[in-house]
C-alpha cells in the first residue's frame, strides 16, 4: 500500500482536512495549487534536486551500526539525516518550501519551531533564496535551545518568543498561524511538519520522502523494520513513504509525554483533524518531552490514518530511555544523535530480542538529526545524576 495523495479536501481516511479560519482558506488553496503544479514541473524538481545536492549534502549515507547491532542482537542501519547541512532532516522541507514560496512570488517566510531545527533550516533556506524569515518559538524552547536561537539570528532571521500557553511548539504553531492571517499576501507559512491544513501534511511528506526513497535505493533488500521518531512526524512520514509498499513493518516512536498517536483521541487542532492529547472536555493537553522537537500533543493526519489501517505501529518511550539510547549510540558508533532520534533508538534497544522486534531482525532507522543542540540538556542531565 503506497502512501497516496490525499483527497481533494486533504483527507487521509477520516483525518486531515482544512480546519482553518476563512481568512486562511484562500492562502491554503493558493499553496495547494502552487505545490500541485510545482511537483509535476520537471524544472522545479530539477532546481530542488540541485539545491539538495549542492547545499543540503544529499544523498545522505546509510551507516551500518555494527557495534550497536552486536550489543542489541538486531542489525541496525542508520539513515543519516544528521549529516545534512544544518544537521537535521528539516532542511529537506525548508528548501522545498522556500523554493515554492519564491515561485509563488512571496516576499518572506514565516515558521514555527520547537527544538529550533526547523527554524534553523528555514532561516538557512531564507538566507539562500533571499527571503526574510520570522520564526515563532515557545519561550520555554527559546531558553532550552539558546544555541539554535543564536544560529537563527546569525542567519538573519527574526526569532519571536511566544509566551502564551505552555510556551512550547504547540503555542508557537498557534502564533505562527495568527501571524499568517495578517500576512497571507506577502508571506508563505513554511510549516515544519506533516501537520496543519491541507496541503501541508501531504506537501511536507512529499518534500521529506527523499529520505525514504534514497534509503530504499541504498538498502540492498527490504528491512524487516523501518523505525523513526514521531513528533508531528515529518521524518517518519518521509521515511515510511519509501517503504509503505513493501513488507517492512513501520514503527513510529513517540515521546511518552507527547504521544498523540499512542494515547491521543481524534480532534481538531492547527488545521487538521487528527489524534491529539486532550482532556475529557476537549482541551488540548500540554506535551512534555526532554526532546523539544517531540513536545507536540498530536501527530500528522496521515500517521493517524496509518495507525487506523494498521500499516504503521506507534509506540512511546520515556526521557530516560532516550537519554540512555543517545549515550549508547555515542559510545558504540561515535554518533551523538538528536534526543528526538534517540527515542527511535530507545525503542529498538528496548524491543530487541522480544517478540516486538525478534533477534536477528534487520532495522532501518532514520537518524533525524544530530545532538549538538542537546548538549546543554545532556550536561544538565549528567550533573543531576552525579548530584
Amino acid at each position: 500500500m503506497p502512501m497516496r495523495t490525499p483527497t481533494q479536501k486533504g483527507r487521509f481516511g477520516e483525518y486531515g482536512g482544512r480546519w482553518v479560519p476563512e481568512s486562511l482558506v484562500p492562502a491554503c488553496l493558493e499553496v495547494a495549487d502552487a505545490f500541485e503544479k510545482a511537483w509535476v514541473d520537471p524544472g522545479f524538481r530539477e532546481q530542488l534536486q540541485t539545491m539538495l545536492a549542492r547545499h543540503v549534502g544529499r544523498p545522505t549515507p546509510l551507516t551500518p551500526a555494527e557495534r550497536l547491532s552486536a550489543e542489541l542482537g538486531v542489525s541496525v542501519v542508520l539513515k543519516r539525516e544528521d549529516l545534512t547541512h544544518t544537521g537535521s532532516h528539516k532542511i529537506n522541507n525548508a528548501v522545498g518550501q522556500a523554493l515554492l514560496a519564491r515561485r509563488m512570488g512571496k516576499q518572506r517566510l514565516i515558521a514555527e519551531t520547537g527544538a529550533g531545527m526547523h527554524g534553523v533550516a528555514t532561516a538557512t533556506a531564507g538566507a539562500l533564496l533571499d527571503l526574510p524569515v520570522t520564526v515563532f518559538m515557545g519561550e520555554q524552547d527559546v531558553e532550552r535551545q539558546s544555541h539554535n536561537v543564536f544560529r537563527m539570528r546569525y542567519l538573519g532571521a527574526e526569532v519571536v518568543p511566544v509566551r502564551s500557553g505552555s510556551r512550547t511548539l504547540k503555542d508557537a504553531t498557534s502564533e505562527a498561524m495568527r501571524h499568517w492571517v495578517s500576512s497571507t499576501e506577502e508571506a508563505h507559512y513554511c510549516l515544519g511538519s506533516v501537520v496543519g491544513p491541507h496541503p501541508y501534511p501531504w506537501m511536507v511528506r512529499e518534500f521529506q520522502r527523499v529520505i525514504g526513497d534514497e534509503a530504499r535505493e541504498q538498502y540492498a533488500a527490504t528491512p524487516d523494520f523501518v523505525v523513526a521518531c514521531v513528533g508531528g512526524g515529518s521524518n517518519a512520514a518521509g521515511t515510511f513513504a519509501g517503504f509503505a509498499d513493501t513488507s517492512a513493518r513501520l514503527v513510529g516512536v513517540e515521546a511518552i509525554g507527547g504521544s498523540g498517536a499512542t494515547f491521543g483521541q481524534a480532534g481538531v487542532l492547527h488545521g487538521s483533524r487528527s489524534l491529539f492529547l486532550q482532556d475529557e472536555h476537549g482541551q488540548i493537553l500540554e506535551a512534555h518531552s526532554i526532546a523539544a522537537g517531540l513536545d507536540y500533543p498530536g501527530v500528522g493526519p496521515e500517521h493517524a490514518h496509518l495507525r487506523d489501517l494498521g500499516r504503521a505501529q506507534y509506540v512511546a518511550v520515556n526521557d530516560e530511555a532516550a537519554v540512555a539510547a543517545a549515550s549508547q549510540l555515542a559510545r558504540t558508533e561515535g554518533i551523538i544523535p538528536a534526543l528526538e532520534s534517540a527515542h527511535a533508538l530507545a525503542w529498538v534497544a528496548e524491543a530487541a530480542g522480544t517478540p516486538d522486534l525478534p533477534a536477528g531482525s534487520t532495522v532501518l532507522l532514520t537518524l533525524s538529526g544530530r545532538g549538538d543542540k542537546d548538549i546543554a540538556t545532556l550536561i544538565a542531565r549528567s550533573e543531576e545524576s552525579r548530584a
Binding site: 480546519w19 481538531v268 476537549g282
Partner: protein, 237 residues
C-alpha cells in the same frame, strides 16, 4: 435575529469571572440585541492577546463547556445567546444538542470553513464567517449556507482592538449586503463607538469582543461594561 434597529452583539468569555453571567442582563439592558458567549478553548488560533488571556483565565477558573452551558441555563436574559468556540469542542458528540438544551440559538466556529461544515450536528444555527480574502463566488456559497446571520470579518487579522476601522470592513459588508437577505454583522477590531457607527452605515450591525474583554479583565463589573455597551448602542442608533 431581526430587529428594526442596527444589531449590537457584545461578546463575553464564559467563565471569565465566577459571576460572569451577571454581565448578560447588564449588556441586554444597555441595548444588546444578542450576546455572543465564548466557550474557552486551550488553543484559540484566531484570537489576539485579549481574548487569549480571557480564555486562559477562564480555563484556570475550571471552566468547561458544560459549566458554561449549565450557567447559561440558569440565567434569564431576554436576548438570543450565540455561542462561539473552536472546532475541537464544537464537533464533539452531543455538543449541539447541549447548546440547544441550554437555550442557545446560534453557533460560531471560527476554524470551521464551509468544507468542514458537515462535521457539525444539525439542530443549531451555524453562522459562517466571510473574510476580506474570500473570493466572490465562495462568499456567495458561504452566505447561502449560513444561518441566522453572516459574520463579516473586518480585516485580515486576529481578534483585538484597533485604532480605526479598516476599509476592508466596509468593502466586505457592502459585498455581502448585495449577496444575502440575512443580517450582516461586522466583527474583529470594532472597539470604539465611532467604529460601530461607521460599520453599521453599511452592515446590519456589529460584534464587539476584545474591547469588552479588556474592560472585564481590567476589573470592570457589569454596570461599567453596561455603560460601555450603552455608548455603542447610542452610536448605532
Amino acid at each position: 435575529m431581526k430587529t428594526d434597529r442596527k444589531i449590537l452583539m457584545p461578546y463575553i468569555t464564559g467563565g471569565v469571572t465566577p459571576q460572569w453571567t451577571d454581565y448578560l442582563p447588564a449588556m441586554a439592558e444597555a441595548g444588546a440585541d444578542a450576546i455572543e458567549v465564548g466557550i474557552p478553548f486551550s488553543d484559540p488560533t484566531l484570537d489576539g492577546v485579549t481574548i487569549q488571556e480571557a480564555s486562559n483565565v477562564s480555563l484556570a477558573n475550571g471552566t468547561t463547556p458544560q459549566s458554561v452551558l449549565n450557567e447559561l441555563s440558569e440565567t434569564t436574559v431576554d436576548v438570543p445567546i450565540i455561542v462561539s468556540t473552536y472546532a475541537n469542542l464544537a464537533v464533539r458528540k452531543g455538543f449541539c444538542a447541549d447548546l440547544k438544551a441550554a437555550g442557545v440559538e446560534g453557533l460560531i466556529v471560527p476554524d470551521l470553513p464551509l468544507e468542514e461544515m458537515p462535521a457539525i450536528e444539525e439542530g443549531i444555527d451555524l453562522a459562517l464567517l466571510v473574510s476580506p480574502a474570500t473570493p466572490p463566488e465562495r462568499a456567495q456559497e458561504i452566505v447561502a449556507r449560513s444561518r441566522g446571520f453572516v459574520y463579516a470579518v473586518s480585516s485580515m487579522s486576529t481578534t483585538g482592538e484597533r485604532d480605526h476601522l479598516p476599509a476592508s470592513a466596509i468593502d466586505l459588508a457592502t459585498r455581502l449586503k448585495d449577496a444575502t437577505g440575512l443580517p450582516v454583522l461586522v466583527g474583529f477590531g470594532i472597539s470604539q463607538p465611532a467604529h460601530a457607527a461607521e460599520a453599521a452605515r453599511v452592515a446590519d450591525g456589529v460584534i464587539v469582543g476584545a474591547a469588552i474583554m479588556r474592560r472585564v479583565l481590567d476589573g470592570a463589573g457589569p454596570a461599567r461594561v453596561g455603560e460601555y455597551v450603552a455608548t455603542l448602542r447610542a452610536a448605532l442608533d
